[in-house]
Amino acid sequence: MTVIDIGGGATDRLYSWDHPTYSVVEQDNPANDTGVLDTMEFWFKTSSTGLKCGTFSYVATGKCTYRAHANIGAVTAGSKQTFTGLSVAVTANDLLGYKIADGEMEWGPSSTVCWALTGDHFIAEGEKTYVTQGSYSSSMNATGATIDAQPFVRFYPHILAH
């Protein structure tokens, strides 16, 4: 089982951005493998409500397709907030994205860019084209694990019984 890691990192960053109308997808640290994300971390400057965080399949620069997400809800500001018990599908090279109803996530300069698109795009709607916002990363990341192939006996015990 391999540990999956995605997102720029939930650290105490310098800036914050008031943008509750956007869905945001970031290029920083795409998923290293395929499996399920069960833990997410965030650092907010001002407390947030209605946080959604999920995975997007990379198509091309500024283009991606929604895959899956978790409704986190309200998140308090001022320290790293960790959430376990999640189950969000992820595929290698997916990008991490989020949407909030209110509040401000921290962000900082990055070597990779961030995309945003007005509206809630955490729904299965096919490929969407986002607008590049600049070179930065938000304070978020998620971890999980690959799903190992199950032993033959688990699926076909009746065959082995004969």
Binding site: D18, T39, A77, G78, S79, T82, G85, E104
Partner: protein
Amino acid sequence: MYAEIETSGIEVQDGLVRVRFAFFCEPFDPRYNEHHVQVPDVSSNEFKAGYQGKIDERGSPVDQKDYDKWLDSLPHVWRNNPFHNHFDLVSADITDAELKALADKRLADFGKAWGEGFASDVRGEACKQIRKGWDRNDTHNKTKADYDRCAIKGLDIAARADSFKRVK
């Protein structure tokens, strides 16, 4: 330490009710200061008056540094944030006693992992520590039900969230 149900995280998922627990330290608990923090007071008149600098057509500040300077100049308040948050899927048939027992178990397990951990800026390290408290083999009530029953149970838990507060 204590555990509360955070109502904004409750929803129906796969025939079960998803419940979000938030775990807090008290002043005498280990590493209390890590989540006892100052944040901008969003109830202050200064915050409500809003940012007076230039904003673009989408309402975003044009000068990010000026905006952050304004944010830092606002009155701040102390807040005790959760040291951890965890989601569990439970049955619509779960009893109050079962839900309280689950909260007690999660609080004990995550509290232990938190107490035995340490602050770390190394990527993934703090996460790895707290995940030691996640018992994935827990056998709480996970009998599935239809959407309506789950939704009603979720609303019921949210309405009585205060009654599920657990103290260690």
